[in-house]
């Protein structure tokens, strides 16, 4: 199940990044990722309803700036931190909706919290890179980590 979920996360992330922002993601192994990351952002969405859990996405400023630029038409080197933060929040929102449908189908109803931006991204980066359930990606050669923690409500999943 976990293996399937990782494949779904990779597939959804690849498709969403391409469709949303013309960016290309490739699966990566933890040893392809840097041990530390500077100028990173962490977005997290809480999930309730047919399952409880959260989706966490960590990415460097470079990815978030390119994401913003490709969506809005701004120049990547002129993207503000505020815009980059909003971009990773919205990316996480779209990823979460798509992943839940791929994993649980279209019958269950989920309630998603608005994306939260977490402090201390370097701490999250270290923890996520070493989490066996996290999915590592290289997005246009820049690292991104996605972790979906999901516990299905047994009553609704039945």
């Amino acid at each position: 199940m976990q293996h399937d979920q990782s494949e779904i996360i990779e597939q959804v992330a690849t498709e969403v990044l391409e469709q949303l922002a013309f960016m290309f993601a490739d699966p990566a192994t933890p040893d392809e990722l840097p041990e530390t990351i500077t100028e990173a952002y962490v977005a997290q969405i809480g999930i309730r309803g047919a399952a409880t859990g959260k989706l966490t996405v960590v990415a460097g400023h470079e990815i978030c700036a390119e994401l913003t630029a490709n969506i809005t038409g701004e120049e990547a080197d002129e993207v503000s931190i505020e815009s980059a933060v909003m971009a990773i929040g919205e990316l996480t929102n779209v990823l979460c909706g798509q992943m839940l449908t791929q994993i649980a189908g279209t019958d269950p109803v989920f309630d998603l919290e608005p994306p939260a931006i977490l402090d201390h991204p370097q701490d999250h980066w270290g923890a996520l890179v070493n989490d066996p359930n996290a999915v590592a990606l290289l997005v246009d050669d820049c690292p991104m980590v996605v972790l979906l923690e999901l516990k299905m409500d047994s009553a609704q999943a039945a």
Binding site: N93, G97, F110
Partner: protein, 129 residues
């Protein structure tokens, strides 16, 4: 024909994407109004007419479902067509939105072609618009 569209989404980036899609689709839109949540949308609609509202679901303060419910309770606002643009993938919830009377549904991320097709269909514009 000149149209006024209200875009309701808590993400300024998504509002910008939707406005870009409107331009790409070459729709006869003269004005795009923006609101960051359902309450802001209701404030905008108090005294302002729009031909279409594009509404997200997951928003702080007042979400899209609450906004649509309030619009449908108002004799004037209930005539404004609403297209929901959301990450929502639950058919159960989409069916509930249709029962509320939404005119269309776009799932994020959507392509400019899907966007144009949906708007054209809801506003009954011809493809040349």
């Amino acid at each position: 024909m000149s149209l006024r569209i209200l875009i309701v989404d808590d993400s300024p980036i998504i509002r910008s994407v939707i406005e870009k899609n409107i331009k790409l689709a070459e729709l006869p839109v003269t004005e795009c109004m923006h609101a960051g949540n359902g309450q802001e949308a209701l404030n905008q609609l108090d005294g302002e007419w729009v031909d279409l509202a594009l509404v997200d679901i997951n928003m702080p303060v007042m979400n899209g479902v609450e906004l649509i419910e309030k619009m449908k309770q108002d004799d004037l606002l209930k005539t404004i067509p609403v297209i929901v643009a959301s990450t929502e993938g639950s058919q159960t919830r989409i069916d509930a939105l249709k029962e509320l009377g939404i005119a269309g549904y776009l799932r994020k991320p959507f392509t400019p072609e899907q966007f144009k097709e949906q708007i054209t269909q809801v506003l009954e514009l011809n493809d040349a618009a």
